[in-house]
Symmetry: C2
Subunit: 145 residues, 2 copies
């Protein structure tokens, strides 16, 4: 089983491989972020690592997003939420109750985009898909969030 520490180590390694320095603020930010598999906001991270500058935390998260290690998604009300990227896909089913994020890439998204090209004659340049769900386990239990 992958622990939070493993996750943080992995991110650290990826940063290093990318030619980035492993500084104290980055280590702390990664450690904090690895403990929140259900997603986090940058302000939350700032509160958890109060001795590091706000700009630094934002820069670290932006770096991780650009490297594809973290993805930024938006909740129903438009508020941003970040979470660890599982792989290279870009589609999520976010549970409104527990915050868990499921991969939706194999549910026909590509097919949908193909249809759009065919039916409208346009060329798809990018897309954003966010699905808000009540996940299987939350359907049976009480809301927590």
């Amino acid at each position: 089983m992958t622990t939070e520490t493993d996750t943080a180590e992995e991110l650290l390694r990826r940063l290093e491989d990318g030619g980035h320095r492993l500084t104290a603020p980055r280590r702390s930010a990664l450690a904090a972020l690895a403990q929140r598999p259900e997603g986090f906001t940058v302000e939350e991270l700032c509160r958890e690592v109060p001795w590091a500058g706000r700009a630094t935390i934002y820069r670290t998260v932006r770096l991780l997003v650009r490297m594809g290690l973290v993805c930024k998604l938006s909740m129903l009300d438009g508020k941003p939420l970040y979470n660890l990227a599982q792989a290279g896909h870009h589609h999520h089913a976010i549970c409104l109750t527990c915050g868990s994020v499921a991969d939706v890439s194999r549910c026909g998204v590509d097919h949908l985009l193909e249809n759009i090209q065919l039916l409208t004659g346009s060329q798809v340049m990018g897309h954003r898909l966010e699905v808000y769900v009540l996940c299987a386990s939350c359907r049976a239990t009480a809301p927590q969030r």
Copy 2:
């Protein structure tokens, strides 16, 4: 053919039908917005109707969004863009070049959401889909935006 004036009149009528007052700031905001079928930002509207208060313009747009007359979508970089709602659907193919918005509802979105429920065992509560395209006519001409 529907002119911009017709559009503004129509919006005005809908507001009135909804029990809202037809005030001068609202009339101007609607007139300005009706002239931008390719979408607009609220700040743009504020610049076009500078004698009306910024809060009022924001309130007017929010009202129109809540009434389903205008929809808020977000561009690839996350910046918000508003445009006149064509109907009750919620899916758009936004041309990155000319800003035109096409309806994508009949391209299999519902089918996709059904698949998600079946494959993940979750209940879909809401979703957001934005597709960024180069529309058919822009594929043949030079970029303008």
